[in-house]
């Protein structure tokens, strides 16, 4: 399609309008990006890079490859059928000697001890006695510690000699590598993580269900009251939302514990005997009650904003067409609220599976979440690789739900307060 110049719209200074508009758009695009960029840069440094660093740490495996570099090299070409020969043992002695001088064998021995209990003392005992060790080293080392005479020790060193490993992920899924190199389940008595993941999901689902059950009527009431009244009642929903998480958890301890307010009340009015007080805290019940309370506003608010948009005339129309109340609700009103249910449900579920403080304080043994195990590996067992692997798996689950949420509702639709 050809166009004569005279047909083209131009601005006052003679630039074609199209070009000028495009320029203006480009300029405002650039301006918008410029405004966002400081925050983007900040978040990338303070948030995204830490997360990437954690992901990297979950596969990072420097201990064997750097601290036993000579041994790893000497092990190349080993048949894996019988104990390695003297050169390998000599290399091990050289590596340990160097490590002992630099005093950095600790991480190596911890790393190997995760995979095979007993390696910590094997290495530290051996390192202490290196001073006056004479060749042949093979006999000498086996004499110091039996572990050096076991095939599995050498297979372990060979296996973990690569600078990256999947063994933290395997451990996080209660799996391990057999000496033959196959992925197998750990013995029953060591299975813990998978069960904790399931428990976290299952209890979060229960909590989500409860918040829906309790939140739906409230949202309905708020959406159908005149604004004057609903504003007042909305404050009752927002007050807990604005109150410190620790305060809310503390109140539940005060109410639910066996010498607490609720039990005292029950004893006072004779519902239960003094000796038979209910155990409502430091177990699943405690976690579920406290978390339902804490997360309830996150369910009510999205439900409310959806219900607010449903004209009351719909229900009236349904009724006037002869629908029974229950039927009209089920066929007309309820389907319209499904977006709100989805938004609130996913939001509550995502928040619930990541909760740490409340389960740690009121969950006792049976109300513990996988997050508590991340904290345990971070602070107590100091198996940071495993903590990173568990956290990465949890993060993946959260991201999947987040993307679903984003697709269904759109994060920019989230409203606060």
């Amino acid at each position: 399609m050809s166009q004569s110049p005279s047909d083209t719209l131009t601005t006052a200074d003679g630039v074609p309008l199209k070009v000028s508009l495009r320029r203006a758009v480009r300029r405002s695009k650039f301006k918008a990006l410029l405004l966002v960029s400081p925050l983007l840069a900040f978040l990338i440094i303070a948030f995204v890079m830490p997360i990437l660093d954690m992901l990297w740490r979950s596969v990072d495996n420097p201990e064997v490859s750097t601290r036993l570099s000579r041994t790893v090299e000497a092990l190349e070409g080993w048949d894996g059928e019988s104990l390695p020969g003297e050169p390998v043992f000599a290399a091990l002695v050289a590596d340990l000697r160097e490590g002992q001088e630099a005093r950095d064998l600790g991480l190596l021995s911890s790393r190997l001890n995760y995979e095979k209990s007993g390696m910590r003392s094997a290495i530290s005992r051996t390192a202490r006695r290196l001073g006056n060790l004479e060749p042949p080293y093979r006999e000498a080392l086996i004499e110091i510690n039996d572990s050096w005479g076991e095939l599995s020790t050498w297979k372990l060193i060979e296996r973990e000699s690569s600078p990256y490993t999947l063994s933290y992920y395997l451990a996080a899924m209660d799996r391990q590598l057999s000496p033959e190199g196959e992925i197998v389940k750990v013995p029953d008595y060591l299975e813990i993580h998978v069960a904790l993941f399931w428990r976290t999901f299952w209890m979060s689902a229960v909590i989500t269900g409860l918040t829906l059950l309790l939140g739906y009527p409230i949202a309905y009431l708020l959406a159908n009251l005149p604004l004057r009244h609903s504003n007042l009642l909305m404050i009752l929903v927002l007050l807990p939302f604005w109150t410190s998480l620790l305060v809310r958890t503390t109140t539940w301890i005060a109410i639910l514990q066996s010498q607490g307010v609720l039990n005292d009340m029950m004893v006072a009015i004779g519902v239960i005997a003094d000796e038979a007080r209910w155990q409502m805290i430091h177990n699943k019940t405690g976690t579920i009650v406290a978390m339902t309370h804490i997360l309830l506003p996150f369910m009510i608010l999205p439900l409310y904003s959806v219900m607010k948009t449903i004209p009351p005339s719909y229900m009236r129309a349904a009724r006037s067409l002869g629908g029974k109340p229950i039927l009209s609700f089920r066929r007309v009103y309820f389907p319209l609220t499904i977006p709100g249910i989805a938004a609130g449900g996913i939001l509550v579920f995502i928040l619930a599976i990541g909760y740490y403080i409340t389960p740690a304080l009121v969950g006792g043994q049976s109300g513990r979440f996988i997050t508590n195990y991340i904290a345990y590996h971070m602070q107590t067992s100091l198996n940071w690789g495993l903590a990173a692997a568990i956290a990465s798996i949890l993060l993946l689950v959260v991201i999947v739900f987040y993307l679903v949420f984003n697709r269904l509702i759109g994060v920019d639709k989230v409203k606060l307060g």
């Binding site: 604004l227 410190s244 920019d412 307060g417």
Partner: protein, 283 residues
């Protein structure tokens, strides 16, 4: 929610049952917060109502836990830390977040959805994961156990709230007002200060309040990356609850409930002001 005139008796009954149910749920929501207020005046070191309290005997009540709180250097130090960290991270989050929200609300913002998803993510990623990740990373760059480290972490956590509230305010912002101001002879600076700023301020302030309360209430990240010098109030409460529950915690909790009431009132006033300024009827 009036009962329609055509309602049957069954429906009327259901209506009242429904209201009763709602009342119970409201009790569940707010009751716990109200229970601890009288408990914090307990004269005994217990977490429950003593007989003297139930008899309304003045001897059963005392201010000793408040005294404990206000005379304890640990608690006071923790409050100071909470305010230092809270205010610094709020300022940072508000400035960065407001700028970004201005950009995001431009019609020509490229990749808006993806960028928004990224900016909101600190709110969605479980705190324990952020805390672990920041612990690893901040340790490497010498930020762990320092004030700047904690402030940066809390800024990241507060940003989503600022971005959400300010974008929401801007999306309801009527751009014709700017043109109107121009046409009436106001220069750009005057337009910004006299027209744009007053309309956007309520959103910015409520975003800032959200950011502040996020930092003020945050335990997990501080637990992981803070050193003993950065001990905040939530940390003090956390260790108090875990180790030895003393009613001092209830006194603190009561003060915090009062604080949240104060914040909530401020927010509500801001919201109304915003609506009035924009000409939306408060209803």
């Amino acid at each position: 929610m009036a009962i329609p005139s055509y309602a049957t008796r069954g429906e009327r009954l259901w209506h009242y049952v429904f209201l009763g149910l709602c009342a119970l749920i409201f009790l569940f929501l707010v009751g716990p917060l109200l229970v601890i207020i009288p408990l914090s005046f307990n004269a005994e070191p217990y977490f429950t109502f003593s007989e003297a309290m139930l008899r309304l005997d003045p001897a059963g009540y005392s201010l000793r836990w408040y005294e404990d709180f206000f005379t304890s250097s640990e608690w006071l130090g923790a409050i100071k830390n909470s305010f230092i960290i809270g205010i610094a991270s709020t300022l940072l989050a508000t400035v960065l977040g407001t700028l970004a929200a201005l950009g995001l609300s431009s019609r020509h913002m490229p990749a808006r959805g993806a960028i928004m998803a990224l900016l909101i993510s600190p709110m969605i990623v479980p705190l324990i994961i952020s805390a672990a990740a920041m612990f690893f990373f901040f340790s490497k760059v010498n930020l762990a156990q320092t004030y700047p480290g904690v402030i940066l972490a809390h800024t990241a956590l507060g940003i989503p709230f600022v971005v959400i509230t300010v974008t929401a305010t801007l999306s309801s912002f009527d751009t014709t007002l700017i043109r109107a101001a121009h046409s009436l002879g106001a220069n750009p600076a005057r337009t910004f200060f006299k027209v744009v700023l007053p309309l956007v301020t309520p959103g910015v302030v409520s975003g800032a309040l959200f950011a502040f309360i996020t930092s003020f209430d945050e335990v997990v990240v501080v637990l992981f990356i803070a050193g003993p010098e950065q001990r905040t109030m939530p940390i003090q409460m956390w260790s108090g609850i875990r180790e030895q529950i003393s009613p001092t915690i209830l006194a603190v909790a009561t003060l915090l409930v009062l604080l949240s009431m104060l914040l909530l009132t401020t927010l509500e006033l801001l919201r109304r002001r915003g609506e009035r300024l924009r000409g939306v009827s408060p209803g």
